[in-house]
Amino acid sequence: MNLNGIDLPKILVFSTEKISDPAVDMAGLLKLHYPPRVYTIPIPCSSAVKPRWILKAFEQGFDGVFIAADGTDCPYGESCTDKTGAIVQRTHNMLKEQGIDTARLRMAAICSVCSEAFVKQMKNFTEYLVKQKTT
């Protein structure tokens, strides 16, 4: 599948079962379209994403990885935002070491009603990744 002759980028989304997944579901319910090569793996909390899973995704050919973070809505506690931020920071350092563009790993808080925000993030991220492929 391609966009203007460019292979549509593949994005892996780590989405949380209680908070961001309802928003992703609602985006579908509302028929808010986003690129179809966005694949979601549900996880309990965004602070549970292991850097090795992110690295694995890049190694296997994903163009981008997006962590749909619980932010302040995390049912497990207020520390989630900082902890998810720390995971991203640590993984960015690992990506730098491997010479991978750190902007290919993104994180944003997606609450249970943030369907439009999620769709916007996916469209922007896809645009960015397409641009990287063409330059």
């Binding site: 599948m1 549509l8 593949k10 892996l12 209680k18 908070i19 997944d21 309802p22 928003a23 992703v24 579901d25 609602m26 985006a27 579908g28 319910l29 509302l30 028929k31 808010l32 379209h33 986003y34 690129p35 179809p36 090569r37 694949y39 979601t40 793996i41 549900p42 996880i43 309990p44 909390c45 602070s47 549970a48 994403v49 292991k50 850097p51 090795r52 899973w53 694995k56 995704a57 296997q60 050919g61 994903f62 809505d73 049912p75 497990y76 506690g77 520390s79 989630c80 902890k83 995971i87 640590r90 609450c111 249970s112 009603v113």
Partner: protein, 642 residues
């Protein structure tokens, strides 16, 4: 690793198969190693399909199950129960969401949707291959429920739950109970008034030992999770002592110099800063409107029950479930919308208050009203506005109001400018009665609505009437009544606190309107009444009973069977660095000695399965069932394939 996997792919009528080539999905997965059968089905959730899946599990000795259908929020419990009925452990079942996250999300791209569906199903197969059987963890659930909103739905739910032995905290933002129904002096199809209905319900909950009522109170924070929510409630002062003198209080109301618009009467009258909406209102004490009170002290001079020393309070409650019944707001017409702004144009809620205030003659702004033009669907079924929905109650309410005006006053002529009358069910008899009383019905399409103008002191309503073949008909009305529909509450801050999703109509959204009609995606939070969408009183009561039953089912046993998805430590590789214990927000991890070395140990009853300990472990010695490296990485491998 599982080697006899059953894969079932649902068409969901056409919700999936209209956009996803289900046959192609089935063909793409049938040869995968370990897949014993792959079948597509029109409705996987149908009883016959469930039975077939359970029989296949038993007869073909399947060791794992994948169902690709709608969101797991909707049918994960259904199919995990099917797995159990077939003899499988339910944790050997994986749900693939190919509706909300595939067919609906990519209904603009069938090729892309099909490609994505294939990968989503393949990744589910990869995950289920690595799954292991687990047993649920039992946790305590508080046998208490917070009911938000003391309108008829909230009070009905509170009464029902209290009768079932549950401690109910009924939390009402206003200082009086009853909500919108207390503004109604007549109810269609009932022998009692709205106020009497509120009184009946209040008396039941007021005397009930299991109900604690908070008025002037709202939930400002929610923490915890299903079975054990921690809510913070802010209670604003009433400034009236509990033991008060009714005569002195009336004097206090009389002497109050502040007059403001009375929102109870939809701003057609004024009220004082110390007020009660009507004499029999509950609780019986008036309240002081702190936003408008000037603290002039006049009331204190004549009434010893006034107490300005009362302070705002914050209290903490622990509840097992939360039932939200926070109601609706009537639609407020925009300037010039169907003549809104002309002096004799009012809304239906205002008109009903006017009828309540006029005994023998119907008088508004000093003029007797004889000719009344009702304009329907104002703020509902909008062509250009956001409110595309039908507000359901208004056709019946208007016709019943019209009938009442005929019965109460002489010489009334009613003209109904409608877009098709929707008096569904038994309410049709109201339509029939209004017709027999001589009411005139004029109908238009939504794109050609009636026009209201003021000409020579008369308010004129003009329509191209469908029922007379498009003939232009004009009515000079003494009063134009805009039949306004329901809208979500303007102040929906409670929805933000509870994080309840909203639908396209901006009302709170249930998981499924037929299958899970009162549950929200926030586990343990149910919704009832008109906060969920336009409803009449009977429908609100029914949904309140349904939500009460659902919330009750969560807390009644005093314990909940929770997912046994908890962290586990690899004793061989753990070298205790303590970072997992630091990351755990529940203090579920402790240091122990095992075979001569210090390692981390997880307390299974305390661990909530958040996984915060997973990424901080430098030796990668912590995993979580369902989210192990093997499971997640096998999914990544499949999803990344070209």
């Amino acid at each position: 690793m599982k080697s006899k996997i059953g894969v079932y792919i649902c068409h969901c009528g056409g919700n999936i198969s209209d956009y996803v080539d289900v046959n192609k999905v089935r063909e793409s997965v049938k040869e995968i190693q370990g897949v014993e059968i792959s079948i597509d089905t029109m409705f996987a959730c149908a009883d016959s399909s469930q039975k077939q899946i359970a029989e296949d599990i038993a007869n073909k000795k399947l060791d794992a199950l994948v169902v690709a259908s709608c969101s797991p929020k909707l049918h994960y419990p259904t199919f995990s129960a099917v797995a159990e009925r077939g003899g499988l452990n339910k944790y050997n079942y994986v749900h693939a969401n190919i509706r909300e996250q595939v067919s609906w999300a990519h209904s603009d791209n069938k090729e892309g949707a099909t490609e994505k569906a294939i990968k989503v199903v393949k990744s589910a197969i990869a995950r289920v291959k690595e799954s292991v059987p687990l047993e649920p963890i039992e946790v305590k659930a508080q046998k208490s429920i917070a009911v938000l909103g003391a309108g008829v739905a909230g009070m009905r739910a509170a009464k029902e739950l209290a009768d079932l032995g549950i401690q109910v905290y009924l939390i009402e933002r206003e200082h009086f109970v009853g909500g919108r129904i207390s503004q109604l002096d007549f109810l269609c199809g009932a022998d009692i008034t709205g106020k009497e209905l509120v009184t009946q319900l209040y008396e039941k909950i007021h005397k009930h030992p299991n109900v604690t009522l908070f008025t002037g109170a709202e939930v400002i924070e929610k923490g915890g999770s299903i079975g054990n929510f921690k809510v913070k409630v802010k209670i604003t002062p009433r400034y009236i002592k509990d033991e008060c003198n009714p005569e002195q209080l009336q004097k206090a109301i009389d002497v109050c110099p502040v007059e403001v618009e009375d929102d109870f009467n939809f701003n057609i009258t004024k009220r004082k800063a110390i007020y009660r909406n009507y004499d029999s209102e509950y609780p019986h004490f008036p309240t002081i409107d702190s936003k408008n009170c000037t603290r002039c002290g006049e009331c204190e001079k004549v009434c010893s029950s006034i107490d300005f020393t009362q302070k705002e309070e914050i209290i903490d409650l622990t509840v097992g479930s939360i039932l939200a019944a926070t109601g609706f707001d009537p639609y407020q017409p925009k300037e010039n919308e169907f003549g809104w702004g002309i002096e004799n144009v009012v809304t239906l809620p205002q008109f009903r208050r006017i009828i309540n205030m006029c005994d023998n003659k119907l008088i508004y702004k000093g003029k007797e009203i004889k000719d009344i033009a009702y304009i329907y669907c104002v703020g509902s079924r909008q062509v250009e506005g956001d409110n595309k929905y039908c507000s359901r109650y208004c056709c019946t309410a208007t016709l019943y109001t019209s009938i009442l005006t005929h019965k109460k006053y002489k010489g009334i002529h009613s003209f109904h400018f409608n877009r098709g009358i929707r008096t569904y069910g038994k309410q049709e008899v109201i339509y029939d009665e209004a017709s027999r009383l001589g009411d005139i019905f004029l109908q238009s399409y939504e794109y050609d609505p009636p026009v209201v103008t003021k000409v020579n002191g008369k308010t004129n309503v003009k329509i191209e009437d469908l029922l007379t073949g498009g003939k232009e008909i004009e009515v000079n009305a003494d009063l134009v009544v805009l039949v306004t529909g329901m809208e979500p509450r303007n102040d929906c801050s409670i929805g933000d606190v509870l994080k309840i999703p909203k639908g396209r109509d901006r009302f709170y959204n249930e998981i499924h309107m037929k299958l899970r009609p009162v549950e929200t995606v926030i586990d343990g939070v149910t919704i009832a009444g008109a906060c969920q969408g336009p409803k009449n009183i009977m429908e609100s009561m029914n949904s309140a009973l349904s939500a009460a039953a659902k919330s009750y089912s969560i807390v009644n046993k005093g314990e909940l069977a929770l997912e046994p998805i908890i962290a586990k430590v690899d004793k061989d590789t753990c070298v205790w660095c303590g970072k997992c214990a630091e990351a755990c927000p529940f203090d579920a991890i402790t240091k122990v000695n095992a075979n001569g070395k210090e390692i981390a140990e997880i307390n299974a009853s305390v661990c909530k399965g958040c996984g915060m300990c997973l990424p901080v472990c430098e030796s990668d010695s912590i995993d979580m069932d369902g989210f192990t490296n093997t499971e997640i990485e096998s999914m990544i491998n499949v999803l990344a394939e070209n």
